[in-house]
Symmetry: C2
């Protein structure tokens, strides 16, 4: 399979990765969740090459994950802000960060975490089942095909 055919796959994870699964797109989105919203901001923050930054931003806009909002004319310059579709990645980001924090070795002393504004605690996120509210564990999940 070529990477470019992945968006045809019969699996939501594969289709998600067809958009997010390259080396920098996810990092750009992380920055969006941290409040970065301009070309030079991403560039300074990630040290990414301008060429692929341009490609990735265009791709994220085309995929409807980021929206361009002009903040000046002549020349037109845009803020790149998360759409609803982009904000819906919040859960993925939180769980990915939690995995990085707890499972990946060699953590620096100082780390970035999140605070839950409504209850005031530093966030420890977990995934739950909408039907029963219980925490999801790997062994309790089975893949099924739904028509």
């Amino acid at each position: 399979m070529r990477w470019s055919e992945l968006d045809q796959a019969d699996c939501p994870i594969a289709r998600a990765l067809s958009i997010l699964g390259d080396r920098w797109t996810f990092m750009i989105l992380r920055d969006c969740f941290f409040g970065v919203h301009r070309f030079e901001g991403f560039q300074a923050n990630l040290g990414i090459s301008r060429t692929i930054l341009r490609d990735r931003l265009a791709h994220l806009v085309q995929a409807g994950i980021l929206v361009q909002r002009p903040y000046q004319e002549r020349p037109v310059r845009y803020d790149y802000v998360l759409s609803a579709k982009g904000k819906a990645l919040n859960g993925v980001m939180l769980m990915l960060g939690e995995w990085g924090r707890t499972a990946v070795d060699g953590q620096p002393e100082t780390q970035i975490r999140h605070r839950h504004q409504t209850c005031g605690h530093v966030l420890t996120p977990y995934v739950a089942c909408a039907a029963c509210g219980e925490e999801m564990v790997a062994k309790d999940v089975r893949a099924v095909r739904a028509g």
Copy 2:
């Protein structure tokens, strides 16, 4: 920043992506969660080139996400199975699949979903806060530095 320096970053998401953020590693892990555990299985399933499959498996083993369990001698052949660290990615996988299912356009009729074994429902996963049990929404989260 080079990709190879990302594992030094002061952010758990960045460090997680230093392991998972290339074009195929996440897809290999998806297959692991779906029960694939041998070289030829991944190769047939993903159509990935054998060269990078070999690299990615070695990398996942080195990172402690997959474990090699020999199933024959002469020549030694291995099953690649998820370690505890690998299984800890379950939440990320579920949320990524949920995002792909609900947010990405052009869904085929037939889709792969998950069933929660303990309550019997087709799973709709969401992320909750361990402190208060409430569902997490993007606007209620703020990044903080924790020493």
